[in-house]
Symmetry: C4
Subunit: 314 residues, 4 copies
């Protein structure tokens, strides 16, 4: 039997055919494979905005090469004779002229050492110039959309702690803004997930863990989220072995505004039973120097062990 | 007499001179023709941002051709003699030079095989260069605004179900995010519309259908919206024939945030009486593999029939 | 003595040394002159974003001419001899070469009929090219920011009505979205302002007028805002003469989301005592055709007179 | 002993090893030094968006020069012989040709007096053209993001006042929008911070100061925030000496929407004990002329002294 108020399924699902390894990864993403995704221009754009930097650069490079090859071939097809000053001598020369013509048109540099000299060439060049501008407009839009999408840069303590609090104990995790901007109106919530596994598969139970302070007006320094483990807490009476056996996972959800963007931010983090320290307290990560505060992000995970019974009071 | 709490008119209107075919189409839009719409620069921009892709491309192509024709004509009017290296021999040659001059200026490629050679030509070219840059700036803005406008890509089960729920029945409809991004803080609401038609025209009645869960924190998988049909539900005691005769329409309204954008999303969907299955339950659309979840969007509409009386309990 | 609950000052101020003509103009702006405004790059940008289209075009044209004159002068100062192919013969020719050089560089067209031919010329050209790109980037940003700023295009009935409602009377004003996009989650509020003038100046009293429906989920058609004038209403017992003498002004405030933008919209409107019809009802502005609805915005202000006593019941 | 309800720590921290000079500076920023900040493309972008104008210009100039030097060197490495029309005579001439080639390519002006004349040159030029476009796209994005980030331009009275209010006293501070746009839906909050210092360091106490009006619908003029000092106020019974000794600091927090942006704005301000006037009232900063209002921002801080006891009533 569990103590504490059961929370409703937060939208992840509570019944699975087989055990799920970990609901949320440490960076707050869910491990879900999607079959039957749709395509379309908009989805392509969203994909460009959300993919990794490496893949994005690769996509751009391939796109740029493809466009030049495509229009270069078009100039070859209509004939390089349609390009003034083209090198007509060898096939290599012809291709170089065609590709050069394409490069200077697609980038809109237009040196003019090679120039369209027939209606057909003007037509291809007129189309390519537009593609060039549109293509680079698209790249601008993607770059801007990537950067402009409000995204927190939060850092969490590597471990969650079962830490002393007043006369009893608490679950604590520490968070700070890694970015040199101010986060304001920050709200925090912690959901505890504990699994029951039987032959039917896995049943997940969700519990809201009330926090000592769940909203701060500013977050210039680190913030320690504290869930006091009183008699109503679902953690009351449990031991580390219980948490391990039930594969406890603490989902940390933060909402707020980052003044570097002035947009809403929604950040997530997960602390699993094997990232939990039984009996410890965080060491202060900031100090005061010349009347100003100094926050050392490298100390965010620092803690010191304290004595603690093997089982939390019920 | 109807059971259930009547809701206020949600802004659509409750009294019509003649029956309205369907209030909302499946994609969530209303079929309203508007007479006396305003025009203006801003409205033109909004139109470009919200029109279909096909019409947008057509608009751009026509605009590009028109600009080149316009400025080509201007070069013809001031005389192609003002363009250095122009082909003055034939009328075709003169037009080709004028159009070529325009194309390379509008795209800002500026090969330089044709060049302004008089103050008049420099004036036209100086104006055209600005128009080119501004025009393509506008295109960038339109592209960006189209993509950046937060828009959900939700997919709904093709049918709504009257499905078993605990000891009784429920109205259910299933929804999933087709996009590979996470939707968070999603709220759902279902409005039932049933019509009374008499000689005066049509009177619409609105009912809020309370949901078992009406807000989820995350939506990584599919979400089944469940309205339990208890004695207070406006559906209590009704049969399929009743729903058909009263032209029942379920308006599904979802609000949330798509992390691909981090902006507010407002999505709508409509399930009409003829898209309803009387007695069925959805088949689970996700499975667990290697500890991770796999969601098959192609299975979102899959259901299996169950036995059910012709009339819901009152 | 007034009936009705006095509302707090909504931020406009309640005490003035002399009577204020009209608090809010019909387009929702306040007539406030500001002395001591700040300047700065950001404020300049905000000014470009919010000024009228005419002034914006003028500003751009003057800016473009100024830049060309400036850089043209620079080329003259370093000497047109530094430009290859320049016309060195006459002063006019020299200026034309300098200006042409500037135009093709600022627009980044770069025909190349005129080319930098010395380090000094390359320096000026290198700087001007950057200014050109930055300048046009700024124009793009201004254009985008102007269009992207969510702005409602609402139209209101020209008059507010004192209209029949159930067994009594009501204050009504009608509003519709002129744009062919959907407005959702629209909230309305009406504030009545009535003045008391004495030797000390003017004292304004504010009253919240409760509405029959103050929030709609969608607004595809017109929406009639209805304040029922019951015994608690501040309008109870008043006559048209009272409203005129106290210079009654109804401030209409709408908040919502326009799906053409998916951003928050805040719209205002004002109905003054001399825009009020004593005893009338609105004529329906939409009709049903082929099962779809047709909204005629030209009929939005249409009403028909009804008999009404000179004084509202107290 | 303090009167008044203690507020929770608003996220700044309540316990410091040494006294903190001032929690918040007058412009609303916190003095926090951060050790261990992360880097990355996104953080670089955020840095460009939030740095001072001077540093931004310097960064751009250095970036532009570096790129030209880099690509100029590349043209030197592959050999200026690969550039048509290059000045091969002297080393200076070669460098000038290489740099000129780079400038016209990076800005996409492309005069064509210098042209790529070999595959190697076309390759470098093709890459540089892309870098040029991308670089300037990035600059556009930075410019736009800087300007588009909603940011209030509020001005506060230089001093806070202990001012007469009804039969007693109040803490007052005056604020106005310096920008000629309308701020709407503005909410205000004042937090009082008073310190207790002992050997352990400094302990901060936070108090919410309830305001007479804490939300206004519009803010076209100045707004005076008024905290009435009644028996429940934490200021009751205190003297100027008490406030000084406890290093009182009033944190003013405003939220709202600026219609120049239509985005949420979060503004902060701090009034320290040494910016407080004991016994004074603000002089009205606006006047009425021709039925319209005129706000003089230069008078925002104007006050006149009034007699007042040395200690507030308890």
């Amino acid at each position: 039997m569990n103590k504490g108020q059961r929370a409703e399924d937060p939208g992840i699902g509570s019944s699975f055919e087989k055990p799920v390894d970990r609901l949320m990864s440490r960076d707050g993403s869910f491990r879900v494979e999607r079959i039957g995704e749709s395509s379309g221009l908009r989805e392509g754009f969203v994909a460009l905005v959300t993919m990794s930097v490496g893949r994005l650069v690769l996509t751009f490079v391939i796109g740029y090469l493809t466009m030049n090859l495509l229009f270069g071939s078009l100039y070859m097809i209509i004939g390089v004779e349609n390009i003034g000053n083209a090198d007509l001598g060898t096939l290599t020369g012809r291709w170089m002229s065609a590709i050069g013509m394409s490069v200077q048109t697609l980038t809109t540099v237009g040196y003019g050492s090679l120039v369209p000299s027939s209606p057909a060439a003007w037509l291809v060049a007129g189309v390519e110039g537009v593609f060039g501008i549109l293509g680079f407009s698209l790249i601008s839009a993607v770059l801007y959309a990537r950067f402009a999408r409000p995204k927190a840069n939060l850092v969490y303590s590597e471990q969650g702690l079962i830490a002393p609090y007043k006369d009893g104990w608490s679950f604590q995790v520490r968070v700070a803004n890694r970015r040199n901007t101010l986060m304001v109106e920050v709200e925090a919530r912690i959901l505890l997930v504990m699994a029951d596994v039987d032959d039917q598969g896995e049943r997940l139970n969700y519990y809201n863990l009330p926090l000592q302070i769940d909203k701060v007006t500013f977050m210039p320094l680190s913030w320690t989220l504290v869930h006091p483990i009183n008699a109503e807490s679902p953690l009351a009476g449990l031991s580390m072995a219980d948490l391990t056996q039930r594969r406890a996972e603490f989902l940390v959800i933060l909402k707020g505004m980052d003044e570097g963007y002035m947009g809403a931010i929604h950040a997530r983090h997960s602390v699993r039973y094997d990232e939990l320290v039984w009996g410890a307290r965080y060491v202060r990560a900031f100090s005061v120097k010349d009347g100003a505060t100094r926050l050392d992000l490298n100390k965010l995970s620092d803690f010191m062990k304290v004595d603690m019974p093997a089982r939390l009071p019920a």
